[in-house]
């Protein structure tokens, strides 16, 4: 189909929504890359996440859109901002000083080459012929039910594995972020191993 006919065939609300969300996503991505201040990068990341959430709703993934806003924009970016503020690393990056010569132009070229590669691959036949044995996506009323039915039946074992993964992540975060007060940390660690609780 010719592009002009295609543009006319797309419903106007869908087209406007897609264009606005795509602008949010791309603009936010440029903001993340180009901002000198990490706080501005984090705020641009929120813009990108919201654009992705809008595109999820546009494609009948209501549950994922809500989770995207809650988890990414609500939790992950706030965690980023918290770490930035906590560490006081919001000083601006010096773009001029480079330890690796010609690294930035080569990196930009590598990114453009990767984009061209993906688009070139998109022109070939996708290797996604057979459908899996799962149900359809559903509409805005039963999207959550369908996802839940799949997660708790077909994908039950991966679901339990993610529970284990989250517990491991919490333990790892607590261990990594603990404050070692004294200089002889190894000695305290050995005391911990022996079972004597050391108050840190």
């Amino acid at each position: 189909m010719e592009p002009t006919y295609l543009l006319a065939a797309i419903a106007k609300p869908d087209l406007i929504t897609f264009a606005a969300a795509a602008l949010m996503v791309i603009g936010g991505a440029f903001g993340v890359i180009a901002s000198r201040n990490p706080v501005h990068s984090a705020l641009s990341l929120v813009l990108t996440m919201f654009g992705i959430a809008v595109l999820f709703i546009e494609q009948d993934a209501q549950f994922l859109a809500a989770v995207q806003v809650i988890v990414y924009a609500g939790a992950i970016v706030v965690l980023f901002l918290f770490v930035i503020m906590l560490l006081g690393v919001d000083r601006q990056e010096v773009f001029g000083r480079e330890s690796l010569r010609a690294q930035r132009p080569l990196a930009a070229a590598a990114g453009v080459i990767a984009l061209g590669e993906v688009l070139l691959l998109a022109r070939t036949t996708w290797a996604t012929g057979a459908h899996a044995a799962n149900g359809p996506v559903g509409n805005s009323y039963d999207n959550v039910q369908r996802i839940a039915a799949e997660v708790f039946s077909t994908y039950l074992l991966p679901f339990e594995a993610t529970a284990v993964l989250l517990v491991i992540a919490v333990l790892a975060a607590v261990y990594l972020a603990r404050r070692v007060v004294t200089t002889n940390a190894e000695e305290e660690d050995s005391k911990m191993v022996e079972g004597k609780a050391v108050d840190r």
Partner: protein, 101 residues
């Protein structure tokens, strides 16, 4: 007729490439980490688009798992970054070139 799925795939490819460029160009480890999150989001968008195009809910379920793994990854990654900064190293990846214990 709604927006064709290939447009979403192209948008996801552009977002993924911007994430690659960000990881390669930036020096601040936290901003590099944000760019990795952007790449994850691009892949999520691809999954959801294929879920719609193929009429298969498994794509959305995979995005759900990717979200969980991304949350765990952010927690551990930021913990590592915090513990690095505790040792009074600099803010950029160039300052982390010595991986001695």
């Amino acid at each position: 007729m709604s927006v064709p799925g290939s447009w979403y795939l192209i948008l996801a490819a552009v977002l993924f490439s911007l994430g690659i460029i960000g990881v390669l160009v930036r020096r601040n480890v936290i901003v590099m980490f944000m760019c990795i999150e952007m790449m994850l989001n691009a892949v999520n968008l691809t999954f959801v688009t294929f879920a719609r195009m193929l009429g298969d809910i498994a794509g959305q379920v995979l995005v759900f798992f990717v979200l969980v793994v991304a949350a765990a990854e952010v927690v551990v990654g930021l913990g590592i970054i915090v513990s690095i900064f505790r040792r009074r190293l600099g803010a950029t990846a160039d300052d982390l070139h010595i991986l001695k214990g």
